[in-house]
Amino acid sequence: MTRTSEYNFAYLDEQTKRMIRRAILKGLAIPGYQVPFASREMPMPYGWGTGGVQVSAAVLTPDDRFKVIDQGADDTTNAVSIRSFFEHTAGVATTTATAEATVIQTRHRIPELPLREGQVLVYQVPIPEPLRFLEPRESETRKMHSLEEYGLMHVKLYEDISRHGHIATSYAYPVKVEGRYVMDPSPIPKFDNPKLGDCPAVQLFGAGREQRIYALPPYTQVVSLDFEDHPFEASKADHPCGLCGSDSSYLDEVIIDDAGGRMFVCSDTDYCDARQAQGHRGKDAA
């Protein structure tokens, strides 16, 4: 609690946090439903997680331990800047260890380590509307959500199969929540989709520019859309991690020289570091 005399706790004023919490509660009450909220200007550009930051600010308490990941990594620009932002404005403890964190703000990944009850996972969402690129009219997509007209979502998957022979959508893969709302899980890889459902942690989604919040309460049923003859498949690069040797985690492909050399490493740095600390080694480990 270093600078709370200068700033209000966690940057936002209490009335704003109250407004955001109301939106979060409504989102939790109607899983997958996009709740409009009065998104504030934040001291960072749109696309850098303004929605996630506002949601985090609204749920953080002084006792929380905060972790930020960007594409799974704790040490990239977005993650570092948001973590230090809350260190300064909320004075909360931070960590890079998934198991120790109580609030985790994430961009484009779900941590490899299974989440537990009591944790909150906050997603940064660029485009909350799964139907956006199929039906550009917001008035129409809202009507489609309210009347549960989701045939169009399958048209997208149909187009994928007809063009590529399989469902080529590999991130932001649409899901159906509790048999009702079709939801965009933010641009997480479809490898992470199975972790959305039946998750013990609270999952909150904040889209700052689009001014929408939606949520998945713990243990919610989340089903990835598919066809009977082309079932959903959680895919990843078919390699083990070059550093820790894990063959079950989601991998980033890293170009290492000009001669076509490349290596695959865990995108979740905390998971990879923990495995290396336990003595696991991959083929590219120094």
Partner: protein, 256 residues
């Protein structure tokens, strides 16, 4: 026998201007009704009121639904009405691009209505799309092409395939041959006539082309300034027009 569609005293005003006034008629199963009139005579307004795109100010549009028998589509709930327009109704727009998704392949366009009513088997959807493309004389090899690469006549035929794939019982057509050259028109009309007869469809065709109604329609309504001025069997109305406006209309047809 109950009429498939019963229009009862439908009126629609745009402010002080009359869209259509006090139109009533019954459409029987398997019947094709033509509505002709000059531009601005209210025929498209009437069609949109019947198809649920516009809400009429007064009157009822009673449709004989499969499940519950005759229901007033004006007062039924929106989900029910939208369900009808996805299953039992079809709407063919004058401009194919209004009725198609131009960014989605031909197969996807045809499959959309199937997926909207719950089809979730890719192979089945694709087989059905292929079958329907063949029925409207589009080469099956073009199933993955976008409609924007199709000619105007092909787009119109694709729109028809997309509408008929769920086996509707009533099809609304707004100037289906407008903007097509005459040889393409003739092919389209031939195709439509075949489909309507084979599937036992009922249809309401709005057009200003008397040749279209002569070929397709069993019965004819002539509209002027929002009012129906003459109605009857197509041949009867066209061969022996009674109302002055109908006489004008019939005599205005260019002879080759």
């Amino acid at each position: 026998m109950t009429p498939l569609l019963s229009v009862q005293g439908v009126s629609k005003r745009y402010g002080t201007h009359i869209g259509c006034a006090d139109v009533s008629f019954d459409l029987w199963p398997g019947e094709v009704m033509g509505i002709v009139g000059e531009s601005g005579s209210g025929k498209s307004t009437l069609l949109n009121c019947m198809a649920g795109h516009l809400v009429p100010d007064t009157g009822a549009v009673v449709f004989d639904t499969r499940a519950d028998g005759p229901r007033d589509t004006v007062t039924m709930s929106e989900p029910e009405r939208r369900m009808l327009s996805r299953t039992d109704w079809a709407f063919v727009h004058q401009h194919a691009r209004d009725g198609l998704r131009m960014g989605v392949s031909a197969g996807g366009n045809v499959g959309e209505r199937l997926m909207a009513v719950g089809a979730r088997h890719y192979g089945d959807i694709r087989d059905k799309a292929t079958d329907w493309l063949a029925r409207v004389e589009i080469d099956a090899a073009r199933i993955d092409d976008r409609p924007s690469t199709f000619s105007g006549g092909m787009q119109q035929r694709l729109q028809i395939a997309r509408n008929l794939v769920t086996g509707p019982r009533l099809i609304f057509m707004d100037e289906p041959t407008g903007g097509l050259d005459v040889s393409v028109q003739a092919r389209l009309l031939d195709l439509l006539r075949g489909l309507v007869r084979d599937m036992g469809l009922s249809a309401i065709i709005v057009t200003h082309d008397l040749a279209v109604v002569r070929l397709l329609a069993d019965r004819l309504m002539v509209m002027k300034s929002g009012h129906v001025v003459e109605a009857g069997l197509t041949d009867q109305v066209l061969d022996d027009p009674q109302h002055a406006y109908t006489q004008l209309l019939v005599s205005s047809v260019l002879q080759v």
